[in-house]
Amino acid sequence: MLLDNTLTIVNGCKARDPKYQQIFYELYRAFALKVVYRYIYNYEEAREVSNDGFVKFFLSIDSFRYETAVSVENLVNSWLRRIMINTSIDLLRKKMLLPEIGGITDSHLDIPLDEESADQLAVYNDMIKLVKQLPPAYRIVFNMYVIDGYSHLQISESLNIPMSTSRSNLSRARNLLMKYLNQTEALVKCSM
């Protein structure tokens, strides 16, 4: 049923039907924003980038191909993810990968109070905040390699940098994250 729905929505989007485009947007906007927010520091900017990503998606959906109905769901996910990542990278490039200023507000990282695994979710949110604190050049490579599964070759082609730079940026990102984690651990011990 879900597959049928996805297929119908995608076909509706291909036909440029605003009704299906809106349904698609409402279904996937949370997913898209979560992808973009890992790359883009500022929440409002992340929303803008996510919107631009959807516009690109709808404008380029004619080139979206699928072989079977079963593969549609996964293909749409990975295609939308790729568009969102590319759109985010475009914005960071425009900003010359300069470090952002201002703190990360907790208000958008939302944890329902009645959730049983609230503690676990809090840890996840903290991890994302750590990733966002990385300098943009390290953050992009870490996100692309560790979370989104790109290879160093793909990263070097996407960012137009040597593969060695991609590897070193990843290594530095890991070291920084480890440092952040150790600092957090020390703080927790002190408070105890």
């Binding site: 440029r16 605003p18 485009q21 809106q22 947007y25 409402e26 906007r29 949370a30 924003l33 979560k34 927010y37 890992r38 929303r47 919107n51 631009d52 959807f54 516009v55 709808f58 404008l59 208000s107 958008h108 990282l109 939302d110 944890i111 329902p112 676990q120 979710l121 840890v123 996840y124 949110n125 991890m127 994302i128 990733v131 870490f142 996100n143 560790v146 979370i147 890991r174 994250l177 480890m178 984690l181 957090t184 651990e185």
Partner: protein
């Protein structure tokens, strides 16, 4: 935190998958507007591509012919021009037309009609010529013998030949006339400055060779032009190109100041947000509860422009002006495509409107003009401009800002 060190990548992967982020309110309206604008732009750009090609090729071809191939100038022009000579003179030059002396102003460039075997100024750049001075015949004859002139004959194939003697010049012209028949030969006479002392003690320069019989200042000019015009409303981008053509008429008030009026027929294309569109004139014809999100306008506009120009740079054959003025827009036809929200549904509506005259004045115009004299009285000009709205135009009183380039050709009148 032990597990963190062992499986840091895994932890971040799980975090990216499960972290909780407030997606906020839906931004579908914004995306919908962007999509509709993109679709409209794509359609418009496809339609205008052929027009742009024609509009771009026309002036380019014309200018190429005008600048590079003077021999393509019409037979009528050529017969008027015939074998002429062009004289470049410097400041404080005095033309001697015995028994009277006529003085020109500064930075003049004079052309004579030589074909008809009579000498008269047929174009003059610069200030008015006055007859307020005189030099004795004796003084003039005294310097006649000392005058040295250098003639440069530009042949029909634009090659040049330098001749020192006047007799040789006439022979050369006759020879070229036989050889080239209808080809234009321009003789450029460069006269070294010959100084004499006037009774007043001022230094003046004499040209004793060509007596002057009639002087007419070319104060009036007229011409035609074509424009490529980008229009936008407030924060909307310049992403559509309009075009137009028109006529102009001008008057040189002084050497530097001129006034110009023009009438242009244009096609303007612009997008605007619904908030910038006033419903005062059309609100009653629209369904209740309807909200205009954005619209694309395509309007036929007759523009009446009045402007003042000031010359900031004058070179041998080129000049640069800055200009400012006011325009009135008369919209003869307006076609709007509205992207609206009606009862929660997005729809597209279209509206066509007849004549609509904006209140005076609609826009203030600012421009820079580069003008280059091609031949005789004819010049070409390139004029980038910016038009800032003073009042809204069209059925929705939309404040339209325009920027573009105007390419024109002008001819001086006597």
């Amino acid at each position: 935190m032990q597990y963190v060190e062992n499986d840091m990548d895994g932890l971040f992967q799980r975090s990216a998958e499960h972290y909780q982020l407030d997606a906020g309110a839906s931004d579908w309206e914004n995306i919908s507007v962007k999509l509709s604008l993109h679709a409209a732009t794509k359609t418009a750009s496809n339609k205008s591509r052929s027009w742009l090609t024609m509009l771009g090729l026309g002036p380019a071809l014309f200018l190429t012919m005008g600048v590079c191939c003077p021999k393509f100038i019409s037979e009528v022009e050529r017969s008027n021009f015939g074998i002429g000579y062009q004289k470049i003179i410097d400041q404080q030059t005095v033309f001697h037309s015995l028994p009277e002396i006529v003085r020109t102003g500064n930075d003049d460039e004079l052309f004579y009609d030589f074909l008809k075997n009579k000498e008269e100024i047929i174009q003059k750049k610069g200030g008015p010529v006055t007859q307020n001075d005189s030099v004795s015949v004796e003084s003039a004859n005294q310097f006649r013998s000392k005058m040295q002139q250098r003639f440069i004959v530009y042949k029909g194939d634009m090659s040049a030949e330098e001749i020192q003697d006047e007799t040789d010049l006439q022979n050369s012209i006759n020879e070229h006339r036989k050889l080239l028949l209808h080809s234009r030969i321009v003789v450029n006479i460069e006269t070294p400055k010959a100084e004499i002392k006037e009774n007043t003690g001022r230094n003046i320069l004499l040209d004793l060779k060509h007596p002057l019989r009639r002087i007419t200042a070319d104060r009036f000019y007229f011409g035609m032009f074509a424009t490529l015009d980008g229009s936008k409303v407030k924060s909307m981008p310049f992403d559509k190109i309009g075009f137009g053509a028109g006529f102009m008429f001008g008057y040189n008030i002084t050497k530097k100041f001129s006034a110009e009026a023009s009438l242009a027929f244009q096609r303007k294309k612009y997008d605007s947000y619904g908030k910038d569109f006033s419903l005062n004139k059309v609100g009653s014809t629209m369904p209740s509860g309807m909200v205009i999100k954005s619209l694309q306008s395509n309007a036929s506009v007759t523009e009446v422009n009045l402007k003042a120009r000031y010359k900031i740079l004058q070179q041998k054959r080129s000049s640069v002006y800055i200009a400012a003025g006011l325009s009135e827009y008369i919209i003869t036809n307006e076609s709007n495509t509205y992207n609206v929200s009606l009862n929660g549904n997005s729809e597209t509506m279209r509206g066509k409107y007849e004549k609509n005259i904006s209140k005076l004045p609609a826009v203030a115009s600012f421009s820079a003009v580069y003008q280059h004299s091609l031949i005789k009285k004819i010049s070409i000009r390139i004029e980038p401009y910016l038009k800032v709205p003073i009042q809204g135009i069209g059925i929705g009183n939309v404040p339209v800002t325009s920027a573009g380039i105007q390419i024109g050709i002008t001819r001086s009148l006597h």
